[in-house]
Amino acid sequence: MKLSNVPAALALAAALMLCAYSCKPKNTANAVSADAAQKTYVPPGKYDEFYDFVSGGFSGQMSVYGLPSGRLLRVIPVFSVDPQAGYGYSEESKPMLNTSHGFIPWDDLHHIEASQTNGEIDGRWVFGNGNNTPRIARIDLSTYNTAEILELPNSAGNHSSPFATENTEYIVAGTRFSVPPDNADGDVPIDSYKKNFLGTISFVSVDKNSGNMKIAFQLKIPGINLDLSHAGKGPSHGWFFFSCYNTEQAHTLLEVNASQRDKDFIMAINWKKAEEYLQQGKGVKQQVKYAHNVYDEKTQTATSTIETEVTVLDAMALPGIAYMMPCPKSPHGCDVDPTGEYIVGSGKLAALIPVLSFSKMMNAINNKKFDGTYENIPVLKYEDVLYGEVQKPGLGPLHTEFDGKGNAYTSFFISSEIVKWNIKDLKVLDRAPTYYSIGHLSIPGGDTKKPNAKYVIAYNKITKDRYLPTGPELAQSAQLYDISGDKMQLILDFPTIGEPHYAQAIEASLIKDKSKKFYDIMQNENTYAAKGEPNAKVVREGNKVHVYMTAIRSHLAPDNIEGVQVGDEVYFHVTNQEQDWDIPHGFAIKAASTAELLIMPGETRTLKWVPEKVGIYPFYCTDFCSALHQEMSGYIRISPKGSKVPLAFGTGDKAPGGKDTTTISK
């Protein structure tokens, strides 16, 4: 063996590798490129590059994946009860799901929007909308908890939400279903739609520091269906764009009756103008009821307040707030490119993609070039606002995201593909099949001023044969494409929870270091916290019994409780004494009609339990916490109503009856 052989061997190896690349199969049946595994493999112990916050649709949840691995990292209950965390079951969290209609434990979480500063994702919060009983939720990215939920009055079908302006001045909400306003008599014939039904757009302000949401104002608009929306950015900052369908104002068989017109609209809203009117006192205060639910991290408790007033500006009466831009065939997606100049409407029944121009729109408005009005709102001419059309891009365009390099990526539901096209010359550059029937798609930062266009993720509506069959229903599939080169490369399939609509992928480096590891028990201000085992106790107040319980590896205190009776309302307030990362304790009791509690380190959670039968009921820690986890349990004795058994409690020496005298029998 001579050293001179080394270059030869190197050359041979290089040649082999070259061949491996160039000999790659070209047929469409093999859509996965040979290096897909390398591109998505994140070795054990290594982290993903992106967090992907994915809406859970009808699961009411939000899920968090790592990209590029597609590993599921977390599921956050938002508009849903969660038996795992006890969210919606624990006394602390129940108020989060309160509405003006009472406790509503489910919603249809459609879209995710990350908070932005200067048009870029800032990693503070993500927002999600509830489509069914209109609500907006804010999720804190240090705790991964739902921190706030705001209900929206005068609304039904909150679909075009929760999209943000470039400094998160506002999160918007628009009505997909027009309805009579809340303060009007809603007992009207459905066929009086045109007369009695109205739409609204809510501008929800977000406090820069706390993130707290407030309805700054609502715009009253005609009774049409708002579908999706996006804020202007850069030169178009100050404007918001909404796709509108059912401008026919149909109230039955919309499938046919709302598809009559050749063109519907993209509604342009000048929200700075609306702010001026608001300051001039042009808003009308309306008496309505809506819930505002806030989780306080100090008391670790949510409160629900019913608000009673909203200020409404009439966009049909106050000139300069709203303009209608014609857009072909029931537009769905309404997406603004990173420069803020181009607005892409996706007519879901059209065979082209119209690209509207913000500067042309401004020219037409400034020159008052209108083509009549729609419900008193000026209508612009299609050709006056049109930059151009992408011809024959595919069938059923839905949504568009941007790469920041002048290209757009549009999802096509009917033809099951993602199409990459150039915004300037409107030419199609590439197409990639999706499996199957893609709905939304997302590029990290793809709806902001600064996309990080490494990947595009397809969220498909139909899965069929992509995974091992699991009965009639399959998990909806997501697909990851590498878009760092000229051509899209499919590199991964991964299953999702519920029906993902929109998602936001965020660079991990932006948020991973501020993730909370535990709650400081010294700062725990929960009314029922037991900080330290000496403070564990049981207090009776009439028929209410408050158990102030502590949990630490691996015992509960008190773990023997007597003197509680059938029909008592027992509140187990369990405080986790641990102060270390990832050491939750669980709490479950036999015959509880709700769920368990999962208590994070330093946190207090409360389970209400009403015993119905006499007997001994065990309770235990559900989250495997140490080698002696199986020992982490206790008993409560339930006596008949009116029993003379005195209240007594304790652990070990202090247990009722004194020290455990059990000896090992041989």
Binding site: N5, V6, L16, Q38, P43, G532, R553, S554, Q579, S626
Partner: protein, 190 residues
Amino acid sequence: MPLLIVFMISVITKSPLDFKLCILLKQTDTTMKKMLAITIISALLYACSGGAGNNDNSNADSNSTDQNAGTKSLADYDPHRGEGKFSNVEVGPLDATMADAGKKIFDVKCSACHKLTDEKLVGPGWAGVTERHQPAWIMNFITNPDAMIDKDPALQSQLEICLVRMPNQNLTDDDARHILEFMRKNDGAK
């Protein structure tokens, strides 16, 4: 020559995995040529994967788990001092204020598992602890339990009795000092 190859491969790949592979190949006693070709291809594949995948950029050290970062090897472990921030802790006459502050922390973070007598609860009773261990060892252990349980012979014997690893209660440096003072008071320091 084999040594040279090992050196070369490890330079190309910087990978302990390939290093092992190379050793393995050596053991199989294959011909030198075959061995060189295989290892070079494997080295190339490895080296070329970096640019295409995300792993090189995204999974730098700051992006991976770092539990063992900064810990010393077993041989360097000092069973008298323990391992952690503290080396020489000066103790004098009992500081009652510090001891009282320590008692408050004890109630919340320690008392669930430790008695003040010599009786074991979950962990050992505290009576006499300041006679058994140096002040620095105590403060290091209560602020850095995981690393010390893995190395300290006394703690490992204790773990066999208690079976529960002492939790990290995230004490501040001051907390640790106050607890030490409270332990001294419990042991009768004046």
